[in-house]
Symmetry: C2
Subunit: 335 residues, 2 copies
């Protein structure tokens, strides 16, 4: 049985295992510093499909198939799929999984969806209801830009705090037993809204949510930052990361060299013209599913806190003058 | 510990209890046959807010507050909120719950979100991670029409298979102990897509998903329709309901007088000009949270199978010529 620890953390009895994972990315991500860790790089932004939305489903399905293959499981072993994406009506996920015939739960946590799915999947495994759960998320630069900002054809200028939505998908197979890193506890996040209205400054909107979850996690577990090899946020980017470090410092937490952000890891910020770094559900999901898992396999990591961050942005509400609520879920992964 | 039964059903060990529920609806719903069961009827379609989207968040928050009050719990007793809606980026839920300071999971199951949240919440309670969970969903006729079809100002004609999105919100407080109907087992649904492309015929898109889940539930539990007082679907409407009954009959299941649909219950189809009936997340959620709970309290119901149905419709993908994937999750509720 899972147990509540402090006010917001849940300690997992089964310690679910990441028995397989896969990351499929697009061309630009395949030119970045983590290129050699990805399972596949699809150069065609349409991925052989007719639309960007269909392409995103293709990335998702490929990541799922690859993760399943690597886990040694077959589709009939999977109890549930937990999945989501950024598109209106989570359409990349719904269309990707309509033919797999596995009970499905659609999630929406914006770019935090990878950790949202891992948090829920861990507790479902602890409940005894599931032995193997798929967590899969995707994003696509072209489908996201036209939905949240402007169609690419407009050739819009990018602002100094903007980020670049990662094209790709990450999938993890979580199991009640097997070999691999384990999820030992989780800290589900609360919605935090500090009043940011600029949809080109998602890092600033999400940093307070990340700080809130990290502080809750450390308080609940009674641990210090030193007890982690890495505090890994999802897609704060360079600007949001600075804000997070500053916010934590003001609350008496020195992150030292432990904080890293998938958004600044997946691209070379000096060379790839992505301004503040990567974003999108696939940003943290592909980095976790590839590079981070590889570092666990090589014994370079013993314990990390993975905190994917999501800006629960609605273009409609932004046009109505509203601010951007954000959320971050914490997942403690150990060797 | 929860236990898998057959291929798709999960039997709950704690049998989580619905200790409180509330339904807040709009003017048209308040003129329908179930008017006297609702907790509140808000005549103003803006609910005192400036936009339809903000109004929908207001309905959601009011339903949450009322359900909490009726359950005798306070916000600090709640471990998690599971919530979603139809709007792009699930914005009604995100904005409703940004100030409550409770760990939050955003869900997207379209109009199936009420049963998706109950299924997940039941298993989370069975895991030991949660004692009290809020499940809350909303929809709004005005925000849904302009997003999925046309702005109301166009005065579009309605087609013979169209349905009317319910304005309102339903909230349920699910607890590991207390007085009230219990969730004894759940049957999470698979995504089913039988090729319907008409976004004005959601009943036809969703009926095969409902049939799939109902058949899986009966097969897994070894029960017949006779062992239920009611098989209650979410929002198939009159046309989709006919299809469901026909589909089940072809598979050897006679629903007799047991099948009812919240979409045909919430409005008077002869009098209220809603064509095939109600739809939207709030359709099944408000009927379940009010009328159905009342019938349990009066000992008129002993066991029902609640199957909220969702069309995972994306206007973008429909314009690209795609079909509508659908899903339905089954929740067995017993006195």
């Amino acid at each position: 049985m899972a147990k509540k620890l402090g006010t917001q953390t849940v300690v997992l009895d089964t310690q679910p295992v990441i028995i397989g994972s896969a990351a499929i990315v697009g061309k630009k991500e395949g030119e970045g510093p983590l290129a050699r860790y990805f399972d596949d790089i699809i150069e065609d932004e349409y991925a052989g499909e007719k639309t960007f939305e269909a392409a995103e489903s293709r990335f998702m399905l490929n990541a799922y198939n690859k993760a399943l293959e690597k886990s040694g499981k077959s589709a009939s072993d999977i109890d549930f799929i937990l999945s989501g994406d950024l598109l209106n009506q989570c359409t990349a996920a719904s269309y990707a999984f309509r033919d797999v015939s596995i009970p499905y739960f659609g999630l929406f946590g914006a770019c935090s969806t990878m950790s949202e799915s891992l948090v829920l999947a861990s507790m479902l495994i602890d409940s005894g209801a599931a032995s193997n759960v798929v967590c899969a998320v995707s994003s696509h630069f072209c489908s996201a830009e036209r939905q949240f900002r402007f169609p690419l054809e407009y050739g819009s200028q990018r602002t100094p705090t903007s980020q670049w939505t990662v094209t790709g998908a990450g999938a993890v197979i979580l199991s009640k037993e097997g070999q691999g890193p384990r999820i030992t506890c989780v800290t589900p996040g609360k919605i935090v809204d500090e009043g940011i209205k600029d949809s080109n400054n998602m890092g600033a909107a999400m940093a307070p949510a990340a700080a809130d979850t990290i502080m809750a996690h450390l308080k609940d577990t009674g641990r210090t930052v030193d007890e982690y090899d890495m505090i890994l946020t999802g897609d704060l980017g360079s600007f949001g990361s600075q804000m997070l470090v500053e916010l934590l410092k003001r609350n008496g937490i020195d992150t030292k060299d432990k904080h890293h952000d998938c958004g600044t890891m997946i691209f070379d910020l000096n060379r790839q013209d992505v301004v503040c770094g990567g974003s999108g559900c696939a940003c943290s999901a592909t980095v976790l599913s590839s590079y981070i898992m590889e570092r666990f396999r090589n014994n370079q990591l013993k314990r990390i806190l993975f905190v994917a961050t999501g800006a629960l942005l609605s273009p409609t509400r932004i046009k109505q003058g509203e601010t951007i609520p954000s959320i971050a879920h914490g997942v403690c992964i150990e060797a």
